[in-house]
Amino acid sequence: MLAKRIIPCLDVRDGRVVKGVQFKNHEDVGDIETLARRYAREGADELVFYDISASPSGKVVEPEWVAKVARAIDIPFCVAGGIRSLDQARARLFAGADKISINSPALENPDFIDELAREFGSQCVVIGMDSRKVDGRWCLHQYTGDPDKMRQAKAQTLDWVKEVIRRGAGEIVLNCMDQDGVREGYDIEQLEAVREVCSVPLIASGGAGAAAHFRDVFERARVDGALAASVFHKGVIAIPDLKSYLDTSGVEVRL
């Protein structure tokens, strides 16, 4: 049986791993390669590198550190942040990234999803979404890496999920903004709703604070993977402990 994936997310700003609370007040938590190696060794199933400075300022992820990470680790990883052209995507994939994730650029130009899927295959096209409830409906937000530029997008989350799958997305990472960084548990309600319309792998993001939160999101929202940052970076949860907890709770994991 396929294992549920535990995915540390490394938010990257100016070549360092950082973490903010609800997208603000970023603090430095370490060096990219060192953390990547540590997580691979501890049993992470996959890593996501999210360049949160890239999208708002128009910068792109530097392939140099992508290649360094690819050399250092032997588990899959995804690179996100400011990828707006096929060439930028190609540079990252050919440097050794297994997947690329796009968020704001997909909302600006949905055809870009089709182009990426045609060129590189759906398996490496991940769509990231930042979503929260506004007036009773789940709505998307753009440019969430920069508090000054962040804004609500026009599309509603559930419609967008269906559209990106139709266009060739191979995986969706749903970042539930109201839960992000506060460690009170994943947004089960929103993830359950998205799961109902999502036929591709779905990764939960935002809110992990305890091992039980992972068990809950796998059991209740049936997500394929759970992403977390601060609980791993700050040592609140150790991945080997989390895996053995999930295993004894009846969740299929890679030990």
Binding site: M1, L2, A3, R5, A40, D45, A67, A70, R71, D74, I75, P76, R90, L93, F94, A95, G96, D98, F120, G121, S122, Q123, C124, G170, E171, S199, V200, P201, L202, R222, D224, G225, R254
Partner: protein
């Protein structure tokens, strides 16, 4: 002994080369068969769609050479699928080195498509050389939407909606549907087995 990695111009080539680096293996990325003349083993990597990959192999002259090849050959992911006869994806004839067809994984309700993540290997043939030193049920990383149903050439399978071929072998020709270069210590062991083992299966060829 140098390993030739056939340049299929697809995205996972770098990962395969880095994995060989980590194993300390000598390799060369080759475009055409002439560049691989002094190489003892071949790796055929590949992600993406079967049609463009076959077109590229025809253009570089590899199709004819691989059909007569006698050196050990390892296909990875799409590279494994290309070893079979025919693919439903792109409706295209493949290398035809191993009998079988590549089909789309069924999209059953509640079964997510594509098959992406760490799945358990179940040995069909416990003597399969690639599995030497690999624990039963060890997990490896899969990413694919098309598959070969477990058949006569299947040495190890994984279950996802159906029994899928995880390792296929015909003599010295072997393929992994999963990505050994991205499958942690288990994947490294499998790659190492391909590089170092002179096996009875290979000797039979």
């Amino acid at each position: 002994m140098t390993i030739a990695v056939i340049n299929t111009s697809t995205a996972n080539i770098a990962s395969v080369l880095y994995a060989l680096d980590r194993l300390g293996a000598a390799y060369r990325l080759v475009d055409c068969p002439e560049e691989a003349q002094d190489c003892a083993r071949l790796i055929l990597p590949g992600v993406g769609a079967a049609g463009p990959a076959m077109a590229a192999l025809h253009k570089s002259g590899w199709v004819e050479v691989l059909r007569k090849e006698t050196r050990p050959l390892l296909g990875i992911c799409l590279g494994m699928q290309l070893l079979f006869d025919y693919s439903e994806e792109s409706d295209v004839a493949l290398l035809g080195l191993i009998p079988g067809r590549v089909e789309r994984l069924k999209s059953e309700p509640k079964l997510v498509w594509p098959h992406m993540g760490w799945n358990a290997l179940e040995a069909v043939n416990s003597d399969e050389p690639l599995l030497n030193g690999v624990e039963p049920g060890a997990r490896v990383y899969f990413v694919h939407g098309f598959y070969v149903k477990a058949g006569p050439a299947c040495q190890a399978k994984a279950h996802y909606g159906d029994d899928i071929t995880a390792i296929a072998r015909q003599g010295y020709i072997v393929g992994c549907q999963f990505h050994p270069e991205r499958s942690g210590a288990v994947g490294a062991k499998i790659l190492e087995n391909f590089i170092t083992n002179t096996t009875s299966a290979e000797a039979r060829s």
